[in-house]
């Protein structure tokens, strides 16, 4: 794996718009440094351009193009609400690329995403150059408004689940995973989403003896491995989600911590 030197850039916002009715925004930033080699699964620490927010916010790199990176985020609290007000053309400080990315070595990848966990899977799908399938789940059809168009031409097959059955299969992604795994010959599963979903997917893939990588979320201050806000216990000892992760082998992590 290539380890990048970290950069700290005063990025310029090229595009910033609401792409999902459920308060999901897309932020396209020129960071004036080549972003093409950033790995899918890596993230940045973004400083909310508003003097009042102290800590940076971790956001996954959803796409790259030349010196530009795309971030996709949902309004959660104070930080993302202030971020949503940042105007096109304004500056935003970006620290990155942080963490390790997904391991690409496999022949038949299946990506599994839930909610905003779908965002980093976009770059991953592009890295697989159309060879990956995706299983994505949201609460209802309305929340599929942003991922559907984004993934349209970058994956082979798309499986959709909604909690209420308003689109695709009814229920959670994990409920439908065993059947999808049985009917296809995937050799690796990549999952990003709510913890309970990753935990269930990890269990199912283990049962099917299929390799699986998960992308974890922890509260972060530094993003560089210094503050130890984000450490977890793993089968290989203590690890920092920001530096040793956020991507981990599913068999390495204990989900119940």
């Amino acid at each position: 794996m290539i380890l990048h030197k970290h950069f700290l850039a005063d990025g310029a916002i090229i595009r910033h718009e609401k792409i999902g009715a459920n308060d999901v925004y897309l932020l396209d930033i020129d960071i004036f440094t080549n972003a093409e080699s950033f790995a899918a699964g890596q993230f940045v620490q973004l400083q909310v351009p508003d003097g009042e927010i102290l800590l940076r916010r971790p956001l996954s790199i959803a796409d790259v193009s030349g010196s530009r990176i795309v971030l996709i985020y949902r309004l959660i609290g104070k930080g993302t609400e202030r971020l949503a007000r940042a105007a096109v053309g304004s500056k935003v400080s970006i620290l990155g690329p942080l963490g390790t990315g997904f391991g690409l070595e496999c022949k038949r990848p299946l990506l599994v995403g839930g909610g905003l966990g779908i965002a980093p899977l976009l770059l991953l799908a592009k890295r697989f150059a159309g060879q990956a399938d995706i299983l994505m789940g949201c609460k209802n059809a309305a929340q599929m408004d942003w991922p559907l168009p984004l993934f349209k031409n970058v994956v082979k097959n798309t499986f959709i689940t909604t909690d209420d059955g308003s689109m695709g299969m009814r229920g959670f992604t994990a409920e439908h995973l065993p059947k999808i795994l049985a009917e296809n010959s995937y050799d690796k599963v990549f999952v990003c989403g709510p913890e309970i979903m990753m935990k269930t997917v990890a269990k199912i893939t283990a049962g099917h003896k299929i390799a699986c990588e998960v992308s974890l979320e922890k509260r972060m201050a530094c993003g560089l491995g210094a503050c130890l806000s984000c450490t977890i216990e793993t089968r290989q000892g203590r690890k920092k989600v920001c530096k040793d992760g956020p991507v981990f082998n599913s068999t390495e992590v204990f989900f119940d911590e």
Partner: protein, 304 residues
């Protein structure tokens, strides 16, 4: 005009500048290799180190609060042996004094740690008697002069290195604690450690932090830290390392004026990983503008 100099000496340690990093906020220095310029740092103060490895507190460990943050890391660290055998040889190359922040659960442990760290790679030890997170007593040493003094004496007896005492702000009379530290033989005083605080989630009716309470740091604590540095300056003649909410050169200058001989930068490293370099440049610029050449020209010059 002669050249501006930020070089200084603190408790016998020669430093390239009076800018240090605060324990627990700069890892072991390595994490900041891409951003820091170690030749502009006076010293790297590494993460709180204990005899045995510690995995720290469970659950959420940080919470952002207005102009600050709470943390309850709980002194996670690989233990003193790993520091000595694996980490210190790696970070020698920075050519920057390394100060090890140590924490014990008994007086004897402080002595043992000080003794083990009496090695070439270490410039000094800093006694953390104020970390509010560790249930095994940490807090007791720092809020009561007698036990703090026995910790200082235990460390002094066991090392040839300078012993820095890091004062807890969670006390009624900081000047009294500083005097006690001086009497016990400390070589320098660091202040402040974090202020005890908490945050509550009104939806779940639960504390935000896994440990319920945590230590407050960042801009919110700066006025308190500044006041304490000033009070301690009036009370003792020991060198002072001032810290608490320093986010830029201007903040650092306030600490120097209040009487700090050096400053340490903590939380700001998380926000701007290259902040220590910016503060260095800012100090040089400030001295130039004031037609001063030496950082010592502003130390303790508050006119009050």
């Amino acid at each position: 005009m002669s050249e501006i100099s930020l070089k200084t000496e603190l408790a016998g340690i020669k430093m390239n500048s009076p800018i240090m990093t605060a324990s627990g906020t700069f890892g072991f220095g390595e994490e900041f290799e891409d951003f820091a310029d170690f030749s502009t740092l006076g010293a790297i103060v590494v993460k709180g180190t204990t005899l045995q490895p510690r995995s720290g507190n469970k659950g959420i460990r940080i919470a952002e609060t207005p102009a600050g943050m709470l943390n309850c890391i709980g002194l996670e660290n690989p233990g003193v042996k790993v520091f000595i055998d694996e980490i210190s040889p790696r970070i020698k190359k920075y050519n920057c004094p390394i100060i090890v922040n140590i924490s014990g659960s008994t007086v004897e442990e402080y002595g043992e740690l000080a003794n083990m760290l009496d090695i070439d790679a270490v410039a000094a030890v800093e006694l953390n008697v104020s970390c509010p997170n560790v249930k095994e007593g940490g807090i007791a040493f720092g809020v009561e002069p007698k036990s703090m003094m026995s910790v200082i004496r235990a460390a002094k007896k066991n090392t040839h290195k300078p012993v820095i005492i890091k004062l807890s702000p969670n006390v009624t009379d900081i000047a009294m604690m500083a005097k006690a530290a001086e009497e016990a033989g400390a070589d320098a005083i660091s202040l402040i450690n974090t202020l005890m605080g908490m945050a509550i989630d009104i939806n779940t009716w639960r504390p935000v932090l896994g440990n319920i309470t945590g230590g407050l740091s960042g801009p919110a604590v700066k006025p308190v830290a500044l006041r304490m540095v000033w009070e301690v300056r009036k009370a003792v003649s020991l060198p002072i390392i001032g810290m608490g909410g320093i986010m830029n050169a201007q903040d650092a200058i306030e600490f120097f004026l209040a009487g700090a001989d050096a400053v340490a930068v903590g939380t700001a490293n998380f926000v701007e990983p290259d902040i220590t370099v910016k503060i260095y440049d800012g100090l040089e610029k400030y001295l130039g503008q004031k037609n001063l050449t030496d950082i010592k020209d502003i130390i303790g010059k508050l006119q009050a």
